[in-house]
């Protein structure tokens, strides 16, 4: 395979990963908000969230493998695993490694959610709010296309969508209709002297 093809694949797969992961974050927020309509049931949100996340892992694997086997930079496989171990653009590639490893933790715990329990799964899943921004900064910092017009537009759309979704989520209370009654009940149970 020619070096040029590898290089283009790295850049293309990186951009596709940005699109997919931004979509996954937005869908995750929408499912927490319990968004639904007549033509959009809630299982559609969670199903898309899950399947697009898995698809993003494929494109990320492509992004990482083609970057590493590209002889121009000869990064080495350690770069994919150990953050800031690369001689080449140490900071920016390190951020990419961190974002990827956080994402691997999120996906792995989701695949075995039934085994580790809801609490542990949810705790790890919050890391999405660390992984996605770090991945975006990685793209801005080292992306060959970061300053080109099409990538600027793409970034604005992706970051804008996630920002709107997250701000909207923060503005909403719990979507659980019995949230206050439930937390009150749990607090009373926890206060029981015989426990």
């Amino acid at each position: 395979m020619s070096d040029t093809l590898l290089w283009y694949t790295t850049r293309g797969a990186g951009a596709v990963s940005l699109i997919l992961l931004s979509g996954v974050v937005v869908l995750g927020v929408l499912s927490a908000l319990r968004v639904q309509s007549a033509g959009w049931p809630k299982f559609l949100t969670t199903g898309l969230h899950r399947n697009i996340a898995l698809m993003a892992m494929v494109f990320l694997a492509l992004h990482i493998v083609t970057a590493i086997v590209d002889p121009f930079t000869h990064l080495g496989w350690l770069t994919a695993v150990v953050p800031f171990s690369s001689y080449y653009r140490t900071l920016w590639l390190g951020l990419g490694t961190i974002a990827f490893e956080l994402l691997v933790a999120i996906v792995a715990t989701s695949l075995v959610r039934g085994l580790i329990g809801q609490g542990a799964w949810r705790a790890v899943h919050w890391l999405a709010y660390a992984s996605w921004p770090v991945a975006v900064i990685h793209g801005f910092g080292t992306g060959t296309d970061a300053l080109s017009g099409w990538f600027m537009v793409l970034s604005i759309v992706c970051v804008g969508s996630v920002a709107v979704a997250v701000v909207y989520r923060l503005g909403q209370g719990s979507a659980d209709p019995l949230a206050s009654a439930r937390s009150d009940f749990r607090a009373r149970v926890a206060r029981r002297p015989d426990r």
Partner: protein, 76 residues
């Protein structure tokens, strides 16, 4: 005695997302507050895969599918 699949709901965990009723309307419907009501009796064999999917889709892992012993007319 023979075994049958039964759906159960953990009322403490359930947050009333309602995905289960979307995915398995044959067995699960929602009350006025959006919390699931499971039809009495075992899960019909043909619905077992769909029931399994509903269990896996519960956002808070409140739905469970388990084999339970069930008395039959033959076992006295």
């Amino acid at each position: 005695m023979r075994t049958a699949l039964r759906l159960s709901i953990d009322r403490i965990k359930c947050d009333g997302h309602g995905l289960c009723a979307e995915l398995l309307p044959e067995i699960i419907r929602l009350d006025d507050w959006g919390y699931p009501i499971i039809a009495a009796g075992p899960v019909p064999e043909g619905l077992a895969p769909l029931a399994q999917r509903a269990v896996a889709s519960c956002p808070v892992l409140a739905l469970a599918l388990a084999l339970a012993l069930q008395p039959t007319a033959a076992s006295k």
